[in-house]
């Protein structure tokens, strides 16, 4: 059993990656979906097993082919990466379990095996980034996940997804290439790609200018991938016109993985070695984070399409996560890491509820939702509770991260008070835009005859409600994300002088 546990970091990536070509061959009806769901659940189980492992105080290190690091390729899982693996594999599993109706509606049956194969490749890439301990492997996993995500976003029947995904492809590739330039410059100066080794050797570099340039390229490249304002323009249309199931999966985890990488790279490699980098980091990210929170929430207030509204709210949430990180304190990093997890829960549950709505309401415009709550009480209630979690009402997961964020902000003195004001304003804006959905669902006038509208299929409702209840559970018993996040924050800050 110990020997199997030793291989878990490698299996986390290899299982979905090798299942992908097999799934592609499964032509008979429904088999591909079943196999993809089983693979995703298996990956989720591996992530849970490793989370219990790291909670017991283990860290996983795996040497590919037994070659010692820094010459061989190393995989590693600590508490921070375990949290991310939980988000990624969990989001994929929930989305696949609930996704049958949505995928059938959007994708030809003959193409479904290809769609599920691309999905598994996206899963493999996204779970590869937290697992890898080598900068170049991270780049390769990033590109695997991006290429596969472009395919599944464009896989639907909505033609507007195509220009959206083209924009995403261009911007995503620029982001990834910036990252590649950054690690190239570091390699030039240090001769290593292993993150732990890099951290030691940057210390010995006499001329820090190339390292500083590398830090700039990597930060901007990953900010592009993470949809930090004003580099977010690829996100709203991609999320809106993607098949609903894909939106559940990607909205819950794809920007989170880039944010994870941004934090890990910056704190692991740069913060301890570049003089004054913590101040540069704060001055660069804090204004952008504040703008992201205010501008994106403001746009969400006026959006007419439910998915676009939630997509803009995602951009605001990226702002929250980076705002916490820009404090460069244990409290701030804990807040942003907890919010990584809680936002994935809230947004995942919201988009699951939206995909339930989409079974009955084509187009998902706010005006078309009028009075649907009478016909779809369970879906509407799920939307309301998940919306509470996004706003941060006490008792939900969202409250925990807002609480940590405000505590961390108050440590910053008078600037902190201004930031708390920003947080309160943006929470009020969240109340307003969630209210717009609730208002049309419960109090809106039906646009036409809605007596034929039925509640969403039972499996979708069950999965959605499990996600919603998870929001409540982690709001009342937040030990798991908070423990993982606070030790992640401590590991990140260990490298500071």
């Amino acid at each position: 059993m110990t020997s199997l546990a030793h291989h878990l970091p490698a299996l986390q990536v290899i299982v979905p990656m090798l299942s992908a070509p097999l799934v592609m061959l499964l032509k008979p009806r429904g088999l591909a979906r079943a196999a993809a769901t089983a693979t995703s659940l298996f990956a989720f189980a591996i992530a849970i097993a490793m989370t219990t492992g790291v909670l017991d105080g283990n860290t996983y290190t795996y040497r590919m082919g037994s070659w010692p690091a820094p010459y061989g390729i190393e995989l590693g899982v600590d508490r921070f990466s375990a949290l991310l693996l939980l988000i990624v594999t969990g989001a994929s599993s929930f989305a696949l379990l609930a996704g049958r109706r949505s995928v059938d509606a959007d994708i030809d049956e003959s193409r479904q095996p290809l769609f599920y194969a691309a999905w598994l490749l996206a899963l493999a890439g996204l779970s590869g980034i937290p697992v890898a301990a080598d900068a170049f492997n991270i780049f390769v996993f990033m590109e695997i996940s991006s290429l596969a995500s472009y395919v599944i976003i464009a896989g639907g029947s909505d033609r507007r997804a195509l220009p959206a995904v083209f924009k995403y492809l261009i911007m995503g590739t620029i982001g990834a290439t910036f990252y590649l330039i950054g690690i190239g410059l570091i390699y030039l100066m240090t001769g290593t790609l292993n993150l732990a080794d890099m951290e030691l050797r940057i210390h010995e570099v006499a001329d820090q200018a190339p390292i500083l340039v590398a830090a700039g390229f990597i930060t901007v490249g990953l900010a592009l991938k993470a949809a930090l304002f004003p580099l977010h323009v690829w996100l709203p249309n991609s999320y809106t016109y993607a098949p609903n199931t894909v939106t559940v999966f990607l909205a819950a985890c794809s920007t989170k993985v880039s944010l994870y990488l941004l934090l890990r790279f910056d704190f692991f490699v740069f913060q301890g070695n570049l003089a004054g980098h913590d101040i540069q980091f704060a001055y660069f990210l804090m204004p952008l984070a504040v703008l992201a929170i205010l501008v994106a929430s403001g746009v969400a207030l006026f959006e007419q399409n439910v998915k676009r509204l939630l997509a803009y709210s995602s951009i605001a949430q990226v702002g929250y996560i980076l705002l916490g990180a820009s404090f460069v304190t244990v409290a701030g990093l804990t807040a942003s890491t907890v919010h990584l997890f809680n936002h994935a829960l809230a947004k995942g549950a919201l988009f699951l509820a939206v995909s339930c709505l989409a079974t009955q309401c084509v187009g998902l415009r706010l005006a078309g939702l009028g009075g649907l709550a009478r016909q779809m009480p369970w879906t509407s209630a799920a939307l309301v509770v998940a919306g509470f979690s996004l706003i941060g009402i006490p008792g939900t997961a969202g409250f925990i991260s807002k609480w940590y964020l405000i505590t961390a902000a108050l440590e910053q003195g008078s600037l902190g008070i201004a930031l708390v004001v920003v947080l309160v304003i943006s929470s009020l804006m969240a109340v307003a835009y969630i209210w717009r959905i609730v208002e049309s669902l419960y109090f809106g006038e039906p646009g036409g005859d809605i007596s034929a509208v039925r509640e969403a299929p039972m499996t979708m409702l069950i999965v959605t409600w499990v996600a919603v209840l998870a929001n409540l559970y982690f709001g009342l018993a937040p030990e798991l994300p908070v423990t993982l996040a606070s030790s992640a924050a401590e590991t990140l800050l260990e490298h500071l002088p």
């Binding site: 195509l162 492809l169 261009i170 330039i181």
Partner: protein
Amino acid sequence: MELLGLVYYWAFAILLMIGFYAVIAKSNLIKKLIGLSIFQAAVFLLYITMGKVDGGTAPILQDGVSLYSTPLPQVLILTAIVVGISTTALGLGIVVRIKEEYGSIEEDEIQERDRQ
């Protein structure tokens, strides 16, 4: 020597900016992809340049030679070239689909048709 050594880095920077300009300024989707390819090719050049060690020979063990160029950047860039090709291929695939659906590959015309 100093200047000659730096020429390759200048070429990297200039190619990078040419590619980046095409991606931003052109509204034709194919031209955008060409720009993206130039942009990526510039980075390949950066990696290959840094692998060369002054006076170093090809990394094959032989008697009487102690200075070798490092082969690792070439291996890395081989992977990056594969990634670049896949991205371009997928991008072109999407452009073909856009042409089928919208009948145009000009960005402004596509936006125009979505508004209708």
